[in-house]
Amino acid sequence: MNTPERVLRSKLHELAEAVPIIEPLQTVDGNRTYADLEPPARSPRRLVAAVLAAAAVALLALVITYAHNRHSTVTSGVDTTDLGPITGFPLRQAVHVVDARVFVVRIGATEAIVLSDRSPHLGCRLVTPPTDGPANAVFQDQCHGSIFDLNGDKLSGPAAEGMYPVQHNVINGRITIVRDDPTLEQWRRKAQQAMDLKASASFYEPDGTIVILIPPAGGITIGPALDAHVSLNGRISVTATASDPGGTARAYVSTDGSGTTINAQYESSDGQHTSIWNWTSDDTLARFTQEELLTIARQLRPNSD
């Protein structure tokens, strides 16, 4: 008799726990800002929304790229590439096999470590040897500076985890990598397209709606920014979608002056694959300083009440 109510109660509590509670933005002198917002002045909302939307577009391109890179590790199907005889690789040294986009480190007569040459952080290319880092540093993320050792374990930088291992076999003395996605190359091409895409967006506002258009040649069209919002505690957020023939990404980008969060979901057109990312960075979108953000928040405070 009582059970459904008890289940409902516990599920509601568990669900509500999913809501992250952020501290109200602190001003330089440590006061909470939502308590001292001033009466509004009109107008910069459009500009801010446009800037943020542009940032969202750029980030979406990254997200979709990342989606494609990540995708290859979750789908099913088998694709193998022969890397040649294992004796051709020097012992305990990283060798970049550019065509296969992997690093191979031979660690024994019949054993090797095979690692993806893309950073687990945002999919940038990794290089070896690194330009700086500790003595055991071997790989470096060109774009964001994460550093990894010979086993692909993270030593420093923004990456959340170590380099992605690539499944492989050593048969009759030859290394074969096994990729678990037959459409890998296709994903990669699209990813590259997204990377190459110049995020030049144009805006217009019929009825106050923000629409972002990307020149169609890139193969990815970014839809309207669904929502741009300035919260009373100073957080600015933009929601946008992007789609390509492979699927659709929806990203929620928010910044509070001390960092940026992106929550994105990518769903393939056939509905078979869904991936979710949460990404946090200390960089702020469009490089807002806390003070600028505060000014914006003050100016954008709704007039009502």
């Binding site: 059970t3 459904p4 109510e5 289940v7 409902l8 109660r9 599920k11 509601l12 509590h13 568990e14 669900l15 509500a16 726990e17 999913a18 809501v19 992250p20 509670i21 109200p24 939502y34 308590a35 001292d36 917002l37 669904l226 929502d227 919002h229 919260s231 009373l232 505690n233 957080r235 957020s237 929601t239 929620y252 928010s254 969060t261 929550n263 979710i276 949460n278 009440d305």
Partner: protein, 154 residues
């Protein structure tokens, strides 16, 4: 409006704030809207909270009012367009369907359910918030439970 700093008697604790934001999120389904409802309610109530009998209930009422008016205006605004709620809260996998089901409840039913089962609000207070009789609250909840039964009955 004149005295934004919380006095010690009516300090808005972090736990209170978190609870209210989460309750508001369960009702409106969007984190930014939930945060705004709570901050906005606090902004307009903080100066006279010390004068009311039950500050908790008073603040809750202010938040619920904002949630309800937001939902009503959202309903009006989205009639022509696809209903898209921008939200960044990602629930645990096993609760996604439950979340969706909660969000399909009619507004008043959802509010009643959240108040009773999440905020442990007595039915008399829920009736005041929703502007209806206490017996109506029980009816709303009864209907909501029936709607949710696929998720809450073993």
């Amino acid at each position: 409006m004149t005295e934004p700093q919380p006095t010690s008697a009516t300090a808005f604790t972090d736990a209170q704030r978190a609870k209210l934001i989460r309750a508001a999120w369960l009702i409106v389904g969007s984190r930014v809207d939930a945060e705004d409802a709570v901050h906005d309610a606090w902004l307009s109530c903080s100066s006279h909270l010390a004068d009311v009998d039950d500050p908790d209930a008073y603040l809750r009422r202010a938040v619920i009012n904002r949630c309800l008016s937001l939902l009503r205006s959202r309903e009006r605004a989205t009639r022509a367009v696809n209903r898209i709620v921008a939200d960044d809260v990602i629930p645990p996998r096993h609760l996604v369907e439950f979340r969706d089901l909660i969000q399909t409840l009619p507004i008043r039913q959802r509010t009643a359910v959240v108040l009773r089962y999440y905020c442990d609000t007595p039915d008399t207070e829920i009736a005041t918030h929703l502007g209806c009789a206490e017996v109506t609250v029980r009816v709303l909840i009864h209907r909501a439970l029936r709607h949710l039964r696929s998720e809450i009955e073993p």
